[in-house]
């Protein structure tokens, strides 16, 4: 996939919805440089009070695993249910464990 065209490079946008929470990927955009990327992100993704902080990251800077990596990366954990706490009963009232 080409990461540039005549509209400038692609930037991935991450938004933090509340202080303390992790930044979450929300989409991407075109921009010529980082200041413009930040402004465009503000215009495209935060008009309805979605966030408290924006990160923009050049698409180039992101290293992604590929579908070919799936077997080696993820399948070994499929039969290791003991790594997830699914056998525990959640205490009453606890929503996030």
């Amino acid at each position: 996939m080409s990461n540039t065209d005549d509209q400038g490079p692609i930037w991935e946008v991450f938004l933090q919805s509340k202080p303390g929470l992790a930044h979450k990927h929300v989409g991407n955009l075109h921009a010529s440089d980082k200041e413009m990327a930040l402004q465009n992100a503000r215009d495209l993704y935060t008009r309805r009070k979605e966030g408290t902080c924006i990160w923009v990251v050049p698409f180039d800077a992101i290293v992604s695993s590929t579908p070919e990596d799936d077997e080696a990366f993820f399948e070994p954990s499929n039969d290791k249910a003991y790594r997830t706490p699914t056998h525990y009963v959640l205490p009453e009232g606890a929503k996030h464990i």
């Binding site: 509209q7 400038g8 075109h30 402004q39 215009d43 495209l44």
Partner: protein
Amino acid sequence: MTTNEALIKYCLRLGDTSLILGQRMAEWCSKGPVLEEDIALSNIGLDLFGQSRTMLTYAGEIEGKGRTENDLAFKRLEREFFNNLMSERPNGHFGETVVRNLFLSAFTYNLYKKLSLSKDDTIAAFAAKSLKEVTYHLRHSGEWMIRLGDGTEDSHNKIQQSVNDLWEYTGDLFAMNEVDELLIAENIAIDLNEIKPLWNNTINEILERATLTRPLDGFMQKGSLNGIHSEDLGHLLTEMQFLPRAYPNSKW
């Protein structure tokens, strides 16, 4: 002229400038150079419409003849509009829009800062709220100005030409009359002579970073204080007012 009469005029100036520039921004909708800018320009337009609603509603209330924000926006003729001449300048190419918006947002940014201390509560609240929006509008146009000015030879020449062409409309931004005199005495309005040096600082700094030349002050257009406008405002109103005039009092 009574204080109320002056206040109505003053509110119309503020409200009309936002309304007319907002309509110019709306003209960019679906015609932006890239999707991101299309949305940015439309967003700025929506901010401006919001600002104008506050001021037109307030003007109608002070007038006390039952005219609503919609009556004032859609049922007045060119000569009854008091927006400054800069706001009605046509969009031209993207760079031209950037220059016009920079000249205007540098003005409203510095004006609203002071106006947020106005003795009139509604105007002070309007200015404080609008300042947050205009701060972004200034940043948007300023950053583009720097990139286009300090960009390619072609973009530099084009935007310098726009600066030169629009310069003669900058004088009208600072024009004052008896409305200002009366309201400055009441601590409601701001003396625009105080805003001029602030505007100069903002503009000079951005022009320098954009490697652009500030034109010398020459002939300056004027007239907005008396509702005298360029032909362009008529065309803008024709489009903006078409629906309510063709179908009066229709509802959604």
